[in-house]
């Protein structure tokens, strides 16, 4: 399809689905079946235990995303799909960062953590494990800042998001 929206960009989709085995596989199968990579994926139960929310980020042009949204809606187990692209929404991501921390670095790392409102969740003689929460930009900035100290491991949740309500 020829279209003016050929630009590839990042999209955050929020998908409410039936909380049943195999549903996640149906959703991810839609992406893999069309050759698209999912950058991040977050699934959890909602207030209604029969319903889960999937938050996923993926890259693609508008035409491709349109098609994927339609295909998602077509899945029997999908209840609702939101695309937060160009919408008002809040997003948060968490990361656990295990970092080498020896001698003078230990104090310096804590000072940096403080600026980012990160908390220490585990302390060992030669490492700290820090927890930080924020939007994607903040997480990336934090990781960039800590890199010189020597990051041993990172676990990131990927974003979760909700639409903003009218004030």
């Amino acid at each position: 399809m020829n279209n003016a929206n050929g630009l590839s960009r990042k999209h955050i989709l929020s998908v409410l689905v039936d909380n049943q085995p195999g549903v996640l596989s149906r959703v991810t199968g839609l992406f893999s079946g069309r050759g698209f990579n999912i950058d991040s994926l977050c699934v959890s139960e909602t207030l209604d235990p029969l319903v889960s929310r999937i938050t996923l980020t993926a890259e693609g042009d508008m035409a491709v995303l349109e098609q994927i949204k339609k295909q998602l809606n077509k899945l029997i187990n999908v209840i609702k799909v939101w695309d937060f692209t160009d919408k008002e929404f809040v997003q948060r991501e968490s990361a656990l960062v295990k970092i080498r921390a020896k001698g003078e670095d230990r104090a310096e790392i804590l000072r940096n953590a403080d600026i980012f409102h990160a908390t220490v969740v585990d302390v060992a003689s030669e490492t700290y494990t820090l927890e930080v929460t924020g939007d994607e930009g903040k997480i990336c900035a934090f990781i960039k800042l800590l890199k010189p100290f020597g990051i041993k491991e990172i676990a990131r949740t990927g974003p979760v998001a909700l639409a903003r309500d009218r004030k």
């Binding site: 399809m1 689905v17 349109e66 295909q71 029997i76 187990n77």
Partner: protein, 468 residues
């Protein structure tokens, strides 16, 4: 279609048990929905949902996998009442504003055409489509899957569109200023090069499946809805708005189409050997066009689509989008079971028929008088055609000179086998087959290197056709 499959007992699932297959996982991409029933108490609800899903919205196959212990368990059955599918709610009723827009476009149009697809048949919209097209004198082309929805003998009929479509249908799509497409998904075999499909047309697209709309083709007026309801609403609106077509208003457009038809009709050269097109034509005449025709996949399928004139809906059963060889005989058996009183003919190739020829045993066992007509060119003909046209006649793995003797094979199954090797024997063979009350396999030894024409090379605009 609802498919029930047997699974290993629940306690063995995931253990790589004997003959265990994750059938729900395997069939996920090729079913509309599927289920694994792990508790017998769920069975009633699941089966009810399965039949509902398979038949409603855009129909599709639903698979229900039932472990052995569930099939053997006992439970008390309670009718489950209302279905609770909060996430499944197909749109049947079209948007009124879009309908008006479509009709406005039609009023402005000088060269309109309708493209009718499988969705028109699935929704049972033939009557409504015919009324709409005839009232507003709009010529109708069809996809392979839509054949029969509009009568092949009607004056407004353009024929099949696409790679092996008629010259006039393809030219009409290239020259029309309005294309009303109903129940189609604009498959690449229909559009050819998408960028040059219907270049001067505004497109109205009616489909119950929103994913079909704007998937391959940009459209002016998208209408999500059931084809039958949509055409019924359009007919009503046409009446209310008092839209009529003056007798001579369409004349210039219909004259151009008539000229295309006269100058470049479907045609083939008669010769000393049997032409496959001739067999299909004779089948049409000798069955009075009354048969339910199923096909295998390949050249046989295209010749059946081109030369059997379908006047009635649901009379042509073929594997279109997926193109599954071996489809025709089992489909014929199914059609015969559903319609014991009707004549069912499988138009087959010698390659495809061998994919499921063992089903002849079922036809004999259950006394199903299906007639199989093999257009036997001892090639996988369609692939050979591509190898001839696009691969410099480098025939690779398409020659089937050592196919079995189909007459003897038919007899071995307990069916009647008949053969025609010369054109003058064709009628006799068909007549004997039609008179025989039981399954018959007709072996027509046809011209070996006959090609299906017209043809649009893959990736080319469909107005650029190779003709005979």
């Amino acid at each position: 279609m609802v498919i029930l499959t047997g699974q290993v007992p629940t306690r063995l699932i995931g253990n790589d048990a004997f003959q265990e297959v994750d059938i729900v996982g395997i069939t996920r991409p090729c079913t509309k929905h599927n289920y694994l029933v792990s508790k017998v108490d769920d069975l009633g609800r699941v089966l009810k949902e399965a039949f509902h899903l398979a038949r409603s919205g855009r129909p599709g196959p639903v698979l229900v996998d039932i472990p052995k212990d569930v099939t053997q368990a006992e439970t008390s059955y309670e009718p489950s009442g209302e279905l609770l599918l909060r996430s499944y709610n197909p749109t049947y009723e079209p948007n009124q504003r879009q309908l008006s827009k479509a009709l406005t476009l039609l009023q402005e149009s000088k060269r309109p055409m309708i493209l009718s697809g499988g969705g028109v048949l699935l929704s049972g919209a033939s009557e409504e489509l015919r009324a709409f097209a005839r009232r507003l004198r709009v010529p109708v082309a069809s996809t392979l899957m839509g054949l029969g929805a509009f009568p092949g003998s009607d004056g407004l009929w353009l024929g099949m569109i696409g790679m092996h479509g008629t010259f006039r249908a393809n030219q009409a799509s290239g020259n029309c200023d309005l294309l009303i497409a109903a129940g189609v998904r604009f498959d690449d075999r229909v559009t050819g090069k998408v960028e040059e499909f219907a270049p001067s047309a505004k497109i109205v697209h009616i489909d119950i499946d929103p994913t079909s709309i704007r998937k391959n083709i940009a459209v002016e007026v998208p209408i999500v809805g059931d084809c039958r309801i949509t055409f019924a609403r359009l007919n009503k609106l046409t009446e209310e708005m008092g839209i009529t077509v003056a007798p001579d208003e369409r004349l210039p457009w219909l004259a151009i189409i008539a000229e295309w038809k006269a100058s470049k009709p479907l045609r083939y050269e008669q010769s000393e050997t049997i032409k496959p097109q001739f067999v299909v034509e004779r089948l049409y005449h000798l069955t009075g066009g009354e048969a339910i025709v199923t096909t295998e996949v390949g050249q046989n399928q295209m010749w059946a689509a081109q030369y059997y004139c379908f006047d009635r809906p649901n009379s042509f059963i073929t594997s279109g989008g997926l193109g599954c060889m071996g489809f025709g005989l089992p489909a014929a058996i199914g059609a015969q079971i559903a319609h014991p009183e009707r004549l069912v003919v499988d138009i087959a190739g010698d390659g495809s028929i061998q994919m499921n020829i063992q089903e002849l045993a079922a036809a004999v066992q259950y006394g199903l008088p299906v007639k199989v007509a093999i257009l036997n060119n001892r090639y996988l003909g369609m692939v050979r055609q591509w190898q001839e046209l696009f691969y410099d006649r480098c025939y690779s793995c398409t020659n089937m000179e050592h196919a079995p003797d189909f007459v003897k094979l038919a007899e071995a199954y307990g069916a009647l086998g008949l053969r025609a090797s010369r054109p003058e024997e064709v009628d006799e063979v068909i007549k004997r087959a039609l008179e025989f009350n039981g399954p018959v396999l007709m072996d027509f030894m046809v011209e070996r290197e006959e090609c299906v024409y017209p043809m649009v090379p893959a990736g080319r605009p469909i107005t650029e056709m190779l003709l005979v």
